[in-house]
Amino acid sequence: MTLLSLHNVTKRFGGLTAVNGLTFDLAAGETVGLLGPNGSGKTTALNMISGYLPVSDGAIALSGDTISTLGPERIAHRGVARTFQLVRALPSLSVGENVLAALAFRKEPVWGKAAEARIGALLADVGLAGRADQPADSLTYIDLKRMELARALASDPKLLLLDEWLAGLNPTELRAGIDLITSLRQRGITILLVEHVMDAVRALCSRCVVMNAGTKIADGPTSEVLADPEVIRAYLGEDHA
């Protein structure tokens, strides 16, 4: 069953076409990698899916309903959650309140005593057990990323968009991060994963979509896509092809 479908999605910034006629589907329960060199339009694609940016052209549908005409709060209410490439914590709130903010404004809000229990469990899931009362702006970069993931999970998403969530982790943290995402996949959450860490992509994604300069250049099983000469050329530049 198709959960997310992009049809001919295009984003223009003035004269620059950041995403050009992007078309692909995500089946429910799939974990798909969205790959491509820097500036190829991956973040822009996520931004259009989450409603942060309007599409210039094309359409995005979730479970068959068009969402590309909706704002981010309506899309969130339909079960899409995300993290940001540059972590966006709510710095004046505590770690627990950051998660509470996600619980409180869901379509079916969770608040009060019920929220407290959920916050504890969500923070424990991402390795931040017992840190709820700490100010968010006192966390290290890695812990901020964990908190942001807990916040995204708090909305019980059907579709999770992760934008280079594993970037900047050391090998131990990377191992833990991959395990964490694996556990999400096992819970049935559909994940679209923008990632440069190839070990993680191989471990997590059965399928990958590759973009270059705004255009999709490959889409298929991970091992095939990563061996595709055009993909290698896009990643490494013409000299290496």
């Binding site: 004046s92 903010a101 996600a102 409180a104």
Partner: protein, 306 residues
Amino acid sequence: MMKLALALIALVALAFVPAFAGPYPLGLGIGILGYGVLATAWAMFSGPTRYISLATVAFFGLGAYTVAVLADVLPYPLVLVVAALVGLIVALIVGLATLRLAGIYFVIFTFGLTELVRQLVTYYEVNVTRTLGRYVFLPLEPEHIYWQLLALLAATLAIAFWVRRSRIGLALRVIGDDPVVASHLGVRITRTKLTLFSISCVIMTLAGAIQAPRWTYIEPSIVFNPTTSFLVVIMALLGGPNRLFGPLLGAVPLFLLFEWLSANFPNHYSIILGLLFIAIVFVLPNGVLAAGDSLWSRLTRKAVQS
């Protein structure tokens, strides 16, 4: 519970002030309560969102003017209801027009809108009713005004308390921190801001309406004096806009200080006010109490580390 009991005891004690105070201290009490209400109402919206509104006096003045226009026509309680409605309608219009703006643009817009409201009222009075000033004759003694303001302050603090504990208060803080995150978490940004802005503005309107009978004679330059807006910002920011009692605690000393300054340095008063405004907005946007807090936590953190 303890705090609530203390607040109620303080409220009852304050209600007895007119029994002992002479006209001058009672006048000061009215001024403090009036500014306490305005600063608390201002901070209810501007504290968490960090939208510095300079429209306070537009609503205050509209409240006063509503009373001046309707005092002879309608019974007093009904006049207050109409004033609240006028405040609500204008707040919705102003809110829809300005709440998409951010930062300095919002500050300038709210300031400009205040001038616009004043000009519109002046225009209407001069060209339509052909009077600029109006007399307000209501059988209200200063202690009646004092008690009404005390009740309004208690109500305002109760609402502020409720907002802080409710989802809408959290929504406002999330918006203040990062509107992009807020929208991605499902917060209805416009609706949330508009709701809190309107509540805050209706309270300001009532503060003006209740104080209107004090002046006896009202004209736009008196009740739409922009100084009031600036004073309220200074009071709330100095006391700490994100604390329940912060704005009120800022209002007490600053009101007395400005009374003294305007009596003793009438010519330099505006300059002092302006400098203070700039200093506070730039240096201590979270308030003196909060600055004290963070200094304290920094010192204790150091002490723990060493």
